[in-house]
Symmetry: C2
C-alpha cells in the first residue's frame, strides 16, 4: 500500500504566487517519491492581518462567529491557488475547505478543538491519484457553523489529518530550518536538532520556543504521528524529526535551553498558614480563566504563622490577576502586600535524557551561580528544570547553560526568525 504524507505550509510559505509555485514543486516531489500527498495550507502571508484590520474598521468588538466566517476565507484563497499551481504542472489536484471535508469541531468560535475528521472523500480522492489540498485553521460544527482553531491552528489541522488518515508522517514546512537547542537570536552557536521527542518539544514549546504550538505536538504525541519541522525554502535539509521518546537514542541529558519573557511574578505576602487557603486562591484564578505557571509557597513563619505564596502568570493576565487577588485578600486573611514583578525571565533546560542522570539540576544551579545569577524561583518536571531569574540576566543564563550542556555548534546558525504562523 502507498504511504500517505501530510504536508503543511504556513502563511509565509504561500505569501505570493511565486512562493505558491515553489510549494507546488515540493508537493509534486513528494508525490513523485511514490507517496500519496495531502497538503494543508494557511492563509497567504498577511491576509489575516488585512481581514482583521477591515473588521476593526467596522467595530472594536466584532462577534467571534463573524470573525471566524471572515478569517476562514483566507485559506479558501490559498487552497484554490495551490491546487491550480499543482494542476499547471500536469498533476491532478483538488482543494477542499473544512466544511467540504468534515473537519468537525466543538461549537466554540475562535479556538475550537477538533472532534473528528471524515475521511471517506479523502480516501476516495487519494485512490484516484489526486493530490488533496485542504484549508488549515478552520473547522465546522455539526450545525454547519464555521469555526477556527486559534493559534497554531493549521499545524493542528495537519497533525489531526495525519492521525485520521494513519499517515506515515506529517511534515511542517515553515520559515525556520528546524528545532534548535535554543533561540539562535540569543545564542548564535545554537545547533539544529536532528531528532527530539514529543515530550521535550512540548516542554520547549511551553518554555517559550515558538516553532510549533503545543497543541499540535500534543495531538501528534497522542496519535503517535511522527512530525518533521523543515524549511520550505532550503530543501537539502531535512529539519528536525519529532517522535516518541521510545524511538530515540538519548546521547545527551539536555536537548535544549529555552527562555520565556512573557511571565510576571506575583507574591501574596503574609497569608495565614492553614489548610484550604492556597486552594481557594488558585481555584478563583482558574475560574477567571487565568493560567498559573510556577508556584512556590514559602515555609510558614513560626512567629506570625503566615507564609508567602508566589506564582507566575502571563503578563497579559496580570491586571486581571491583581484585581482578583485584591477581591480575595480579606476572605483568605492575607495581611501583607501583593507584590508584582514584571522584570523576570524563566530559563529552562529540557531533556528526556535527564531522567536517568542525576546531577543535572545541580549542574544548572552551579552554572547560574558561577555567572552571578540569582535564582528567584525553581520548578521542575520529569524532563525539565526551570529557574526564574532577572530579565536582563536571561541571555547570559541561556548562553552559559547552552555551553555547559554541550549544545554549542561549531557553525553560526542562519535563521531568519522563529515566529510561528497561524
Amino acid at each position: 500500500m502507498r504511504k500517505i504524507i501530510v504536508q503543511k505550509f504556513g502563511g509565509t510559505s504561500v505569501a505570493d504566487t511565486e512562493k505558491i509555485k515553489n510549494v507546488a514543486k515540493i508537493v509534486i516531489k513528494e508525490k513523485e517519491n511514490g507517496n500519496d500527498v495531502v497538503v494543508v495550507v494557511s492563509a497567504m502571508g498577511h491576509t489575516t492581518d488585512y481581514l482583521v484590520k477591515m473588521a476593526k474598521d467596522l467595530t472594536p468588538n466584532p462577534s467571534e462567529r463573524e470573525m471566524d466566517m471572515l478569517l476562514s476565507t483566507g485559506e479558501g484563497v490559498s487552497i484554490a491557488l495551490l491546487a491550480m499551481a499543482i494542476q499547471a504542472q500536469g498533476y491532478d489536484a483538488v482543494s477542499y475547505n473544512a466544511m467540504q471535508i468534515g473537519i468537525m469541531t466543538e461549537n466554540i468560535h475562535s479556538k475550537a478543538r477538533i472532534l473528528g475528521i471524515k475521511t471517506d472523500k479523502l480516501k476516495q480522492n487519494l485512490k484516484e491519484g489526486k493530490i488533496i489540498v485542504i484549508a488549515g485553521f478552520q473547522g465546522v460544527t455539526e450545525d454547519g457553523e464555521i469555526t477556527t482553531l486559534g493559534r497554531g491552528g493549521s499545524d493542528t489541522s495537519a497533525v489531526a489529518l495525519a492521525a485520521a488518515l494513519n499517515a506515515e508522517r506529517c511534515d511542517i514546512y515553515t520559515d525556520v530550518e528546524g528545532v534548535y537547542t535554543t533561540d539562535p537570536r540569543v545564542v548564535p552557536h545554537a545547533s539544529k536538532l536532528k531528532e527530539i521527542s514529543y515530550e521535550e518539544m512540548l516542554e520547549l514549546a511551553h518554555a517559550g520556543a515558538n516553532v510549533l504550538h503545543p497543541r499540535s505536538v500534543e495531538t501528534a504525541k497522542l496519535n503517535n504521528v511522527p512530525l518533521r519541522v523543515r524549511s520550505s525554502f532550503i530543501l537539502n535539509d531535512l529539519g528536525t524529526l519529532i517522535l516518541g521518546v521510545d524511538k530515540m537514542e538519548l546521547n545527551k541529558p539536555v536537548a535544549g535551553v529555552a527562555q520565556d519573557l512573557s511571565q510576571a511574578r506575583i507574591v501574596v505576602c503574609d497569608v495565614p498558614d492553614k489548610p484550604g487557603v492556597a486552594a481557594r486562591l488558585f481555584s478563583q484564578l482558574a475560574k477567571e480563566n487565568i493560567s498559573v505557571d510556577m508556584i512556590i509557597q514559602s515555609y510558614a513563619r513560626k512567629v506570625s504563622n503566615t507564609n508567602d505564596i508566589a506564582f507566575t502568570v502571563d503578563k497579559s493576565d496580570l491586571n486581571k490577576t491583581v484585581s482578583a487577588l485584591e477581591a480575595l485578600k480579606n476572605e483568605i486573611g492575607a495581611t501583607g502586600e501583593i507584590e508584582v514583578d514584571e522584570n523576570i525571565a524563566k530559563v529552562s533546560i529540557v531533556g528526556a535524557g535527564m531522567i536517568d542522570r542525576p546531577g543535572v539540576a545541580s549542574a544548572m544551579f552551579e552554572t547560574l551561580a558561577s555567572q552571578g545569577i540569582n535564582i528567584r524561583m525553581i520548578s521542575t518536571s520529569e524532563i525539565k528544570i526551570s529557574c526564574l531569574v532577572d530579565k536582563d540576566q536571561a541571555p547570559l543564563a541561556v548562553k552559559a547553560l547552552h555551553t555547559v550542556f554541550n549544545l554549542d555548534s561549531d557553525a553560526v546558525a542562519d535563521v531568519k526568525g522563529d515566529l510561528p504562523d497561524v
Copy 2:
C-alpha cells in the same frame, strides 16, 4: 405576519468599509420599517479581478472547479463584514455562505443554475429577529462541490431567495438610479422609468441595457417577484419597479430604446434553395454553443435557385462561427463568399404597449428613414422591434426614436455608469 424584503448590494456598494457601513444603514432602515430583511451581497469592489489576476499568474487555464473555489471566497469576506457592521449598530445579524444555507445548483462550474434553496435555517433565523446576510453568486451541489452562477449571479441569488421565501419584494441596490428609457450616455434626456414589466425589461436587457442580467429578470418573472432597481447612494429615489405587465398601466406604446454594439453580421452567400440547408447550418452553430440572434433569409434567386442567409452573432463568437461555416460550406453546397461586417449596431424599441397599437413599426422605419439611416436587417417580437443599422448611425437612431416615442425628459439624467456588477 411580517413581510420579507430581500435586498441585494453589488460590489460597488460594498467596495470598502465606509460603503459597508452605509449599506448597514440601509438594511437597518428596512428592518425598522417593520419588515424581515434578508440581504444578498457580492464580493467587494475589485476583489474578483484581484483573485483572477493571481490565478492567471499561476496558469493561463485554471480549472473551473478551482476558480469557483477561489472566487466564492470574495463574498465570504463581504458577508462577514456586513454582518459585523449591522451588529455594530446594535442589531442582531448572521452571515451565511451558499453551502451553509443550501443554495443548491447543478453540478456545473462557473455558470451553474440554481435548482432549489433550503429555507428552514433562514425562516428560523428570521423568527428569532435576525437580519440574514447571504453570499450571492455562489451555490453548492448535492455532493458538496462549490459552484458559481456566472454573470449577473448575485442578482439571480437574490431573486431566487425572494421566490423561495415568498418575499414581498426584491430590491436590487446598485450604482445607477434605476432603469432608463435609453442609455443616458447616448441620450442625456433619457428619463428614469417608475415601472416596467418583466417582459419589457427582458427585451431591453437582451437588447443591450446592462442594468440587470436577463437571468435574474426571468427568475423574477417566473416566480412573480416584484423587483426594484435603485441606487445605494441616492436614497430619496425609489428607482424603478419591475413587475408583471398585468399590474401596469400602459400609457405609452414604447417603454425604452436600446442599442447593442456587441453583434457582428455574417452573410453566407449563394446557398442552394432546398429544404434542410438552414437547419443544418444553424444546428451546427448550436452544437458549437454559438448563440445566433437575428436571422434573415433572402428570397431565392430564380436564375441560380440560391439565396443568401444573413444572421448576427456576438463578436466574441465571430472567429469560431467563421471557422464552422468554412467547414460546412461544401457540405451545404454554398458557392459564394462568407461576408462579415462588424461595423453594425442593433437598435431596438421595446414596449408592452405596442401590442394593441398598430403603426409602431412603421413609425420606427419612417423615423430612421427621415434621418437618412439605412436599415440592414429587421426582426420583431411581440413587444420589440429591432433594426440593424450602421454602427456610427446608432446614436442618431436612438436619439430620434427616443424623441418620436415621447420618452425625452425635461431634465438631463445624472448617471455615473451603467455597468452591472457580477
